[in-house]
Amino acid sequence: MRPHATTDRSPTARALLLALVLSALASLGVLVAPAGTAHAAATACVADPTTGCVTGTLRTAGGQPAVGVEITVDGPGGSTTATSGADGRWSAAATEAGEYSVTVDESTLPEGETLRDPANNPRTVTVTLGTSAGALFPFGQPTGGGAAAPTPAPGDDSADAGQGAEPGVDTAPVDSAGGAGGVTWGRVAQQALAGLVFGSLLALASIGLSLIFGTTGLSNFAHGEQVTLGGILAYVGVQTLGLPLLVAGALAVLLAGVSGWLQDKFLWHPLRRRRVGMTQQLIVTIGLAIALQYTYQFFFGASSLRITTANPESIRFGPVFITQQSLTSVIIAAVVLAGVAYFLVATRTGRATRAVSDNPALAAASGISVERIIRLVWTFGAALAGLGGVLMGLYLNATSWNMGGTLLLLMFAAVTLGGLGTAFGALVGSLVIGLVVEMSNLVIPSDMRYAGALVILILILLFRPQGILGRAERIG
């Protein structure tokens, strides 16, 4: 065991560099943003053995239902015209299976709205009798088909047990034809920047996960629910209490931190004192995750919750777009990450935290109060996750009960990639995972992009289980 002061040197330097790069990027503002929404939806057309449906929900870039848009569905069963209703939903029946072309009449779009991906109009939909096929037309700035804004869709009626659609997984499939838009430099730049935004928000959420693992050895499967908590508290603050976003966000982060403190005080500390084993604790976190997810659903329902309903303004930087909101989010993320890096590197408590993370027994022997550090890690880890949740909720355009659960595996991928238990590893890993998720859009359908990150997770474990920044040691 090398003394921790020297083991820190190289990750520290790398992390500081990263923090610098991040802030530089943020100030340059070469970033991307989500715009527009799309929803898979239930319908007026009811699918039965002799009828298939083509359905969709149209929403303006601001998320309001787009009313009165005419859609023509043309195919083997003849031609049908549908008009979107007051909730933006439309549906058309087809009595024969086959390929149908779905066209939005752009002249009927609401004032000032454009299709985000005009190349996808008309689009082809395969209709099977007895099922509904979705055809989504996201509105917003034309992005060349690149930046599919990850937008949560409302609860999927067809799934049972209250399973909703998942934020980030159910994206507007503007480029779902397998990246048919072609890989251009503009798209690459757009996706790379989207990846950096997503990665830096993911980093906020992952640091706690990594440090909790480092200091206690616990793989916390309920960490995603801390992220959701942040998003939902911000939603309550803005939408229910009518607070300004900044106040609501700060309050959400504070309360998330308090929840971490309470959790460690009343759950994990007693469990550690009882000497409940790590595997048992891991399963306890799963029970906690289930209980929390359904508690959120109990109070807030399974649909997506929009923290702000204002139409985000886009700013153009050369070939790429970013919304005001995402730009602010990423600046906040960069500042906070730099702060965390400073705390871990330059303060006594931060050094003690890394010492505990490195080797709790040795740290205790050198006079560090391990339990106090763990309490601190829980509190700050949960607060950072809460902040990640608030910003992620803004970035994804909405939050929902399973936002954190969906992100959890990406966080695990990030911390495993960076090296479990190292704070800076979580940062590096998150950025890589963010880039992979967004860049994989270029070659695989956007609704499979989370799968790409998970494949990487498995590959890392195959070839470098200690991660990028982890120390090589026998694992297992």
């Binding site: 898979a40 395969t126 099977t128 007895g130 099922t131 509904s132 096929a133 979705g134 999927d156 067809s158 799934a159 049972d160 047990a161 209250g162 399973q163 997984v169 159910d170 779902s176 793989s219 469990l271 009882r274 409940v276 084993g277 790590m278 595997t279 048992q280 891991l282 399963i283 306890v284 799963i286 029970g287 906690l288 289930i290 209980a291 997810q293 359904y294 508690t295 659903q297 109990f298 659960g405 595996l409 695990f412 991928a413 495993t416 695989i444 359908p445 609704d447 499979m448 989370y450 799968a451 998970l454 494949v455 997770l457 498995i458 590959l459 474990l461 195959l462 289980p465 694992i475 297992g476």
Partner: protein
């Protein structure tokens, strides 16, 4: 409160095909966790693959036995892919990899790019693959009443699927019982307790773990088929929550026991049904809406899992000395 109806519902739930499917899945997980100490958090992935393998090959026109073999082959390949990188690593790595792999299966299956094969997120309709299974039924068409329970003989949620499902559960129990008392099973238990000791006896720990992963996964795939036969293949209904419920069932009944998973599944679903039906008639809708009662049931499941693991990790039937839940 109508207790006859409530108790009928609960009794129906005890023998429901879903209960049998979860019992089978838990038996598979028991081979992984109870016998070998492998932390498999991707059991739903095995189930979903089994369901896809069976449904897709039946839709493609293969007879039921071929479809079954394809489902099993899917599970075997999946287990090998999972096992090769992770079985040499620490337990929690296997947990993360299996849960990630199961998610990959689900995300790919529900992707719009796969609509032609898997039906994307709306899934595959039950009627498109049930035919060959229902054709095997020896019963005449119609419905049969047994006491207050009334189901059709063959169609969808039938007596036929119940009989086959529980017969498979019985078969799997028999298999696990024999294996537990075989030299092979003793090596597995040895691995669970102390891997290095078994290795020092000259056993190939890696190979044994792999065999266990494959066997439990195959049982999981069969469970997936039983699960989807009365309904449709819905990738989103077979995600992480399903894996976690299988874990709850296993730990409730007692890991490393023969009947623990079966008892656990029966109690899990019966208790859930009891909570839901009692609350539906007892709690006025302005206090808790119907879907909130549903969610309340799942909150109880989560809390139960936490309390169970902390206070009674051996479950109802387990022996605390037998099972050291902490794997390395």
């Amino acid at each position: 409160m109508d207790w006859t109806r409530i108790l009928t519902n609960v009794a129906g739930e005890i023998i429901a095909p879903t209960t049998a499917a979860y019992a089978l899945a838990a038996i598979g997980l028991n081979v992984h966790f109870g016998l070998t100490g492998l932390l498999n958090f991707g059991q739903a992935g095995f189930m979903l693959l089994g369901a896809y393998g069976f449904a897709i090959s039946t839709i493609a026109g293969y007879p039921i036995w071929v479809a079954l073999l394809i489902a099993i082959a899917c599970a075997v390949i999946f287990a090998l892919i999972l096992g090769i990188p992770t079985l040499k690593l620490r337990g929690d790595y296997l947990a993360i990899v299996t849960i990630a792999a199961a998610e990959i299966v689900r995300i790919v299956g529900r992707s719009t790019a796969m609509t032609g094969l898997t039906g994307a997120s709306s899934g595959l309709r039950g009627n498109s693959y049930k035919e060959s299974f229902q054709a095997l039924s020896p019963f005449p068409d119609g419905t049969t009443d047994v006491g207050p329970l009334s189901y059709s003989n063959n169609a969808s949620n039938s007596w036929w699927i119940r009989i086959v499902g529980w017969a498979l559960v019985a078969l799997a129990c028999l298999l696990v019982w024999r294996l537990m008392n075989s030299p092979w099973g003793r090596v597995l238990k040895g691995i669970r307790e102390d891997e290095d000791a078994v290795r020092s006896l000259g056993k190939n720990v890696y190979a044994y773990k792999m065999q266990s992963l494959v066997l439990g996964g195959v049982i999981g795939a069969v469970a997936g088929i039983v699960y989807v036969l009365p309904r449709a293949v819905q990738p989103d209904s077979m995600g992480r929550p399903m894996t976690f419920f299988v874990w709850t069932i296993l730990l409730l009944g007692g890991a490393a026991t023969v009947f623990g998973p079966v008892l656990g599944s029966m109690i899990f679903w019966a208790a859930l049904m009891l909570i839901k039906t009692v609350m539906r008639s007892a709690v006025p809708p302005d206090i808790m809406r119907t879907e909130q009662i549903e969610q309340f049931g799942w909150i109880v499941v989560g809390v139960t899992l936490m309390l169970l693991v902390i206070f009674r990790p051996q479950g109802m039937l387990g022996d605390k000395k037998e099972l050291a839940i902490n794997v390395r």
